[in-house]
Symmetry: C2
């Protein structure tokens, strides 16, 4: 029995998120069924991040156990041949049988949030951007974002329907860039609460619009109340870009030639 | 009766092209039906460019005649409210009643063709890129493209199922750029034959792959035979970016305050 790790990209538009649920098709379900076709065994992938309905990924991570003779590094190719066009395995390798994509000490996650800021939204970007037609002040958004850097209790930036008790997280970097009509917010940190990136985006949009002064972001953080922050920005703007397991040991990769 | 001009963007993935046809839904059909809902009159738009099935646009142009009291410049907003998400009117204005979006002397059209050049295709770009997994030599593609600049008989770069007799066209600019894994070919000229941009893209891909030396593009042009050029590259990579009607008179716009 081997444990195979997959790095997965998907267009989440037509999926009810990652996690299997009775009311619609999910990425996890499609992966399980496709891997079952490839290996001939039943399959239950374990995902690193249970992205929400409509959220995209370029670097989600999952593992599954198999007795298949297909070499782990060829598994990506074998599965891709049978996947629908909107899910792609970017990479596959073997990891230690005990390696778990969620329970690792030094995980870093990087998300991007995309806003189309013009009167009309380009239909070639509308699957991947939230549309904000009123002007946004990027400099003020950057000032507001500055208050979120570092280790804080992000209770104000967490959906109330969460079972998580510890709402302390660390944000290492927030970058806001504009290219043409598209504004991209890049956020990197050691973990994110339920809806956290989308609530940050919704709050920074309020700052950019002039509804909140930038320093209000610091006050919201201190209040530790979800009702203080901006609305949750829509899912289509969000992309889980990357999950880094930063030490050699935690990355779990099995060295060749062992 | 007024003639209203529309500048239209669309994601062509789910349409059987522009022109109305019995076997599937088209952009022209959706526009007609939506404008009929807005104005309460029957509508037959006249398009500038009959894009193929699966081809996208950011700047196709169309006109329609109406007695509606909605001001022409507000028409974009009124129609957008009832259009599906994958079609957007970017702009609307009034033009002279005789102005026709195809029969103008000094039209310039700009297309972009997008290639995803890596082992795996990003599913967030697969609706808008052709996938080429083997390496492409951009410099050679640029050298090959150089032979196409200027006024030539482009018979070798025209689908044989065309009714056009005069296959002479002028290409003013071809630019090839790479950003990450995406290669973009920008082509600007005074008119394009049936499948011309996609055959140019297919031929330059052959050059980039090393199957054709760059000078072969000049030879293909001289032979004036479709069979000499590369295959027609797939539709999803093509975007009609812009149509310019370059003189004030030909642009047809009715000046305010007349």
């Amino acid at each position: 029995m081997k444990r195979v790790r997959l790095v997965i990209a998907y267009d989440g538009t037509d999926y009810c998120g990652w996690q299997i649920q009775p009311n619609g098709i999910t990425v996890e379900e499609v992966l399980n069924k496709t891997i079952e076709k490839v290996t001939g065994e039943s399959c239950c992938v374990i995902g690193a991040s249970r992205t929400d309905s409509g959220v995209h990924a370029r670097g989600n991570v999952a593992v599954f156990d198999t007795c298949s003779t297909i070499p782990p590094e060829r598994m990506a190719h074998a599965i891709n041949r049978k996947l629908p066009k909107d899910i792609v395995i970017r990479h596959s390798d073997e990891v230690e049988p005990s390696w778990h994509p969620r329970y690792q000490e030094r995980i870093l996650k990087r998300y991007s949030y995309h806003i189309w800021n013009a009167a009309w939204i380009d239909p070639l970007r509308s699957r991947y951007c939230a549309h904000v037609s009123f002007p946004l002040d990027i400099e003020k958004m950057e000032q507001g974002a500055g208050y979120l850097l570092g280790t804080h209790d992000f209770a104000s930036f967490c959906n109330i329907h969460t079972q998580v008790r510890n709402t302390v997280r660390r944000i290492d970097e927030i970058r806001i860039q504009k290219a043409g009509s598209e504004i991209t917010i890049q956020v990197c940190g050691n973990g994110f609460l339920y809806h956290m990136v989308r609530i940050i985006a919704g709050t920074l949009i309020r700052v950019g619009r002039g509804f909140y002064p930038p320093e209000r972001v610091g006050e919201i953080l201190e209040q530790k109340l979800r009702t203080e922050a901006g609305v949750t920005a829509p899912p289509e703007g969000l992309v889980l870009e990357e999950i880094c397991y930063d030490s050699q040991e935690e990355s779990g990769r099995i060295k060749k030639g062992r």
